[in-house]
């Protein structure tokens, strides 16, 4: 990027600076023997054009909206449209969550994001013994189409897009969403949104699993195939690094494992004889934005560049939309502290800024109380306002990729890229991500990184303000509490649904679904038929479990 004679001059000048620096340091040494990112990547004090000697602007950085998209996926970025403000919400029953959705939309939220309670995430109804103590606690309870109708009441599904954090039963929740839209008079060609539907990272990190890896992949490819033809505005997977990072990985591991998962999904869809350019534009991504500001920005930029090259060079995609890594970001839950919880507002603001400077397409900002419970309305409002202040007051949206060209950020982007590519190569050598997961490789890498990080915190080698430095007592904050009546209402509604529906039709639909599952047909049409007749989530999942078997945690530590 720089002329050779310039680089020589810069080298000479740098030597002079180093001499001056030595003198200063002999009087006032640096604060630390070694400076490093939160992922423990060493950082120099100063970066210059010499660090970017091999960078080719057109090849490696380029222009926003143009391959390899290092500077962003859209030509105008936030000058055209602000990112989607999408607050992950789900509390108690569908009624409470619907109320929260309307509240957030009235206060300027621009997209929905549904958090389901654990029984739904794991494929159990609220009346299952597995659901005891869990109903409505960590998200919204959805047992049948009835709950989904209440949850989305008054939400115009042709205008608002919805992201659903749902994995093993993703196809079922998508089916319910399609049917609710249909009842609103909105066709499946019009609806827009995302299902997380990323089982590989479940085995690696988030750990909501139901079926073994292979049938899990089949269900995912079924949704990709179905949506490619029938629901063209739907993002069929949100290939997620967030949970990998929250489980304790480094920034590089988060990005590398996520892209390796992405490779596995593309390969699986190609094996189904789908055309790469038909489905790849609807693959989306989801990353964490942790507290180490520049490392995160470099991670987002490097991820876009690597994915673009993988799609173009490895998978020979020709449509430029297939090359684009579009992503959602959530600020880092694991960076928050229970101690002095109001500090979490500040942490979240910096993390949100990193996501925006990294070019995110949508954003969830954590609430200050999420380290204790589901957020209160007040805490969620502050988190939303944090995004609005960023978007409309700070001016950071005036300019595209303002850190592009920073010697430090470009160097860090290169470095994150190089290290991520080494991981991806290693996983390729193991035979791909499924094989790597079976060996326990990413799981062990993450557990090791998490343990090392915890020791750094315990030894105060990494500072968490209010925890291992500047610790003081703080008054307890008010947290969200679930009304115990919600649990009874949920169980009552489930009983009523089972009584009022046409039992014979449900039985027939489930039987047909079973037959299709035993063969190799696409299951989506069968699932849609079953949910329309109010077959419950668990009834459908039980068919899957019976046909495909189950997966249990190997319990490594």
């Amino acid at each position: 990027m720089f002329r050779e004679d310039h680089l020589k001059t810069i080298g000479d000048e740098e030597k002079r600076w180093v001499d001056d620096l030595r003198k200063v340091l002999s009087e006032v040494p640096e604060r630390l023997p070694r400076f490093s990112t939160i992922s423990d990547m060493e950082v120099k004090g100063l970066y210059t054009p010499k660090d970017l000697e091999h960078l080719d602007y057109s090849r490696d950085v380029g222009f926003p909206g143009i391959y390899p998209f290092t500077r962003g996926v859209q030509p105008s970025m936030y000058r055209g449209r602000i990112w989607t403000m999408r607050m992950f919400s789900g509390l108690g029953g569908p009624e409470e969550t619907n109320k929260r959705f309307h509240y957030l939309l009235e206060h300027g939220e621009t997209g929905l994001s549904i958090a389901f309670h654990y029984p739904t995430l794991m494929g159990y109804d609220s009346d299952s013994p597995m659901a005891r103590g869990e109903i409505g606690k960590c998200g919204v309870a959805v047992d049948s189409l009835k709950d989904m109708e209440i949850l989305l009441e008054g939400i115009p599904l042709d205008k608002v897009t919805t992201s659903m954090t749902i994995n093993p039963p993703a196809s079922i929740l998508l089916a319910m969403y399609i049917v609710v839209a249909e009842k609103q008079g909105v066709s499946k060609a019009q609806i827009g949104g995302t299902i997380q539907n990323d089982m590989l990272k479940e085995f690696i990190a988030q750990k909501t699993f139901m079926l073994p890896p292979k049938p899990s992949m089949r269900l995912i490819v079924d949704t990709i195939e179905y949506c490619t033809k029938e629901v063209p505005r739907w993002n069929t997977i949100s290939i997620s690094g967030y949970h990998i990072r929250e489980a304790g990985s480094t920034a590089v591991q988060e990005m590398a494992f996520t892209l390796a998962d992405g490779i596995a999904y593309v390969e699986a869809a190609l094996e189904r004889d789908l055309e790469v350019d038909d489905f790849a534009p609807r693959l989306s991504f989801f990353f964490d934005s942790h507290i180490d500001f520049f490392e995160e920005i470099a991670k987002f930029r490097a991820a876009r560049r690597i994915w673009a090259r993988i799609m173009k060079e490895r998978f020979k995609a020709k449509n430029s939309r297939s090359w684009m890594l579009r992503f959602h970001t959530q600020t880092a839950g694991c960076s928050l502290s229970a101690q002095q919880p109001y500090n979490n507002v500040i942490r979240t603001a910096y993390e949100a800024l990193a996501a925006v400077l990294g070019g995110t397409q949508s954003l969830h900002t954590n609430s200050l109380d999420e380290v204790y419970a589901i957020p209160t309305e007040e805490a969620a409002t502050i988190a939303l306002r944090t995004q609005q202040i960023l978007a409309e007051e700070t001016g950071v949206t005036n300019n595209i990729d303002p850190l592009g060209g920073s010697y430090f950020v470009e160097t860090l982007t290169n470095r994150v890229e190089t290290e991520a590519l080494e991981y991806i190569q290693k996983i390729d050598d193991m035979g791909g991500m499924l094989a790597a997961i079976e060996k326990g490789y990413p799981q062990a890498e993450i557990a090791q990184a998490a343990y090392q990080y915890q020791k750094l915190i315990d030894d105060a080698k990494k500072v968490v303000v209010g925890l291992n430095k500047y610790a003081t007592d703080h008054a307890p904050i008010t947290t969200w509490k679930m009304d115990p009546l919600i649990e009874r209402r949920q169980l009552k509604r489930l009983r009523e649904v089972k009584e009022m529906r046409n039992t014979q039709r449900v039985k027939d639909d489930l039987k047909e679904l079973r037959g299709a599952a035993e063969g190799d047909e696409n299951l989506m049409p069968y699932i849609i038929n079953a949910v329309r007749e109010y077959a419950t989530l668990q009834e459908i999942c039980d068919v899957f479990r019976e046909v495909f078997g189950t997966y249990t945690d190997p319990g490594m530590f």
């Binding site: 869990e134 960590c138 307890p476 530590f557």
Partner: protein
């Protein structure tokens, strides 16, 4: 004289929540501190945990929960231990647990509750002080 038996701890994940970062860190920390550690893996019912704890003859059970179901699951483990006559096994817990729930958990016999920010060392020291290898 035979060497003293090591402290045997079961780290357990009751309920459906998949957050196992803390449980795994604690399990490693206990192992590095010289305890014998059994980790149940995820998605265990209280019944499974109690049966495994008795089978493995552990001295203590550390329960981890990060999704709000502790108020049912933790007391249920204590209750089942009592029913099986195994209530000499010390039960403690940790995770995302609101402050006002902690006293309720103590009342039903959860000996200690560790909340976010607790160091590995503090947990290890608590175990050493409060759990002795049973004869």
């Amino acid at each position: 004289m035979s060497p003293e038996r090591k402290i045997r701890i079961m780290v357990a994940k009751p309920g459906l929540n998949g957050h196992d970062r803390g449980a795994k860190i604690i399990a490693r920390g206990f192992r590095d501190a010289g305890f014998e550690v059994i980790y149940t893996g995820l998605h265990q019912t209280p019944e499974q945990i109690v049966a495994a704890a008795i089978e493995e003859d552990v001295d203590g059970i550390g329960l981890s929960s990060l999704a709000g179901a502790h108020d049912y699951l933790f007391p249920r483990v204590v209750e089942l231990l009592k029913e099986k006559g195994a209530d000499d096994i010390v039960v403690f817990g940790g995770g995302i647990i609101p402050e006002e729930d902690i006293s309720k958990l103590r009342e039903v016999g959860i000996r200690e509750v560790f909340t976010p920010g607790t160091s590995i060392g503090d947990t290890v020291n608590w175990v050493r002080r409060n759990i002795k290898p049973r004869k």
